[in-house]
Symmetry: C2
Subunit: 333 residues, 2 copies
DNA sequence: CTGAAAGCGCTTACAG
DNA sequence: CTGAAAGCGCTTACAG
């Protein structure tokens, strides 16, 4: 069905022009006559010519591939995020004729990424998550590979794209406060992560703004296991709290389960808010208030920033994206 | 930090030999003196030389990339599978110095895949799922691109790797029958999919083997919505059934939820078995009997089969992999 | 066992 | 505006 692959040489011969000219017509670089260009372009279209990405790569020492590194050990709750993120990156990349090679790493094993880099298979990489002590980040920086992180990094020199978690959390908390809900408890996750710190900061911003004094015994941090979360909930239930704010969707899931187990009604007995809204939560139960971040948007921003960076264009070191406060008044029980 | 990239030319000059020889030492192809080879290899190791995959690609007209195509619209339940599958493929591929480029398609849109193929960015592809009318499969076949499907295809000429669903389901059902459990109901999913047909066939095999006559009104097929499944469960509960067999994990999840809602106890009041066991189910509740398929194993098989196929080696058209019957007697209520 | 040379399919100074 | 030529970094007949 497919006859021999067409090359730039074939076209040049067929059209009686040099391959230099053909190349220029395609790339759009360099002066070229309007007429000649159109002739070439027409021929290309008619004969369905596709330049060999690999040959172009060799000539320009580029691969037209980027890598998305994602945690191979990510938990169930994170999967929808990575799936959508991958989709977004892949879609955006293809618009610039780039493709994405996956590399899966764990907190302490980045061999897949190293292979990719050493074999020169990619022009740049986007780091799907940021860790405080990130060996992948360190490695890329040291190698001088263009890269962008999704999520904030503590290193001010790395190019990062993130949602404005701090503002978002401040705003969500403000919504509660302005509804005269003051007795709120906060259940936080691993405070070693950067995003947790930002969320907590946003929460405190709102407290300051509304002049609400947060009692420390209503703030539960580092609740990194289901057991701890359940205990926190039990504790909270004794304290006449109006609303539980969960720092992420995993916590929120556990809280909802626990409340159900305890036969506590939402929102009559207590309200629940979450600083992160995932598809996992969405399908499960009604959270009264939550934050939604647009995964496609952050993926596109990461990808485009990286591609510009690869092309040596100036890019902002830090891109902060918006969010949406979702108010879901539970009408059905 | 990194000095200039080393090339084969540099090595040749440094070692006072021809680059042909260097190339041969690296690839291991062609005759070469033991001593010379070792000298080259040592130099390479010491200076951390890595051949340019892209140059090698051009010379051999290969990319050393394969593509994994996966559904961009896959549902929550399928995510863990694809995540593990991706990990498996990626790991296996890297052992042969291949990398995997992701392409996400939907049932009717395979533009991402088409781009990849037309731009010659991959040497082959593994299809992450099979559809009865699969445009991706059709496209690849017509283009003559080496590909392998994970899951069965109706087209006997396509190279496929699958678990032996039929035997697995026969065996699981047999376990029930041999425990003298005879009043079983089957809730099946979309019968248009190939895997559903195989599972049903396995179920019927067991019936025949044990001489059990299956009443049609205990078999619920095409239960493709939560509502339908719930109705099926309601119906089943009236019929004095001992065990519900769910054709997949999604159905099983719904069934468990419904039973809980109806305050039916498992396994006292009724047992539940599933023809597919996913991590989603696992974390949720206790299913008495289920089938486990090793995702890593199928990923490795897909990948290795594809790589052999790319190398023009003979590969089996159909590879059937094993399964594990998981008997989980619920001890806690 | 080893090498000179052509080639993979593009791009890009350089010259006109 | 257009072309001849060198080059990107490998591989592989072909010849010795």
């Amino acid at each position: 069905m497919d006859n021999k692959k067409l090359t730039i040489d074939d076209i040049a011969r067929e059209l009686q022009i040099s391959k230099t000219t053909v190349s220029r017509a395609i790339s759009g670089k360099g002066r070229i006559g309007q007429e000649t260009r159109e002739k070439v372009l027409r021929y290309i279209k008619e004969n369905n010519y596709k330049p060999s990405a690999i040959a172009r790569g060799l000539a320009q020492s580029k691969t037209f591939n980027i890598s998305l590194v994602m945690p191979g050990d990510s938990s169930l709750v994170d999967l929808p995020f990575y799936h959508n993120f991958l989709w977004g990156i892949s879609n955006t990349a293809s618009k610039s004729d780039y493709d994405v090679i996956i590399s899966m790493v764990s907190e302490k094993d980045i061999t897949q990424l190293v292979r990719l880099i050493e074999n020169n298979k990619v022009d740049g990489v986007v780091l799907g998550r940021t860790l405080e002590e990130d060996i992948a980040e360190k490695y890329l920086k040291q190698k001088g590979i263009p890269f962008v992180t999704a999520g904030s990094s503590l290193d001010p020199t790395v190019i990062q794209v993130d949602n404005d978690h701090r503002s978002a959390c401040r705003e969500l908390t403000s919504v509660l406060f302005s509804k005269r809900i003051r007795r709120v408890a906060l259940i936080g996750s691993d405070m070693k992560t950067i995003v947790s710190k930002n969320r907590l900061a946003g929460f405190r911003d709102a407290c300051t703004e509304f002049n609400v004094f947060m009692e420390d015994d209503l703030i539960y941090l580092d609740m990194d296991s289901e057991t701890k979360i359940e205990e926190a909930v039990e504790d909270i239930l004794k304290k006449n709290v109006e609303c539980i704010i969960c720092m992420d969707d995993y916590i929120c899931g556990c809280v909802l389960e626990k409340l159900e187990k305890e036969n506590v009604n939402i929102p009559e007995d207590i309200k629940v808010a979450s600083f992160y809204d995932s598809s996992l939560l969405e399908s499960r139960q009604s959270v009264n208030l939550s934050l939604k971040f647009n995964v496609t948007e952050i993926a596109a921003a990461c990808c485009n920033t990286l591609l510009s960076h690869i092309d040596k264009k100036d890019v902002p070191v830090k891109t902060l994206l918006g969010y949406e406060v979702v108010i879901r008044e539970a009408t059905q029980s």
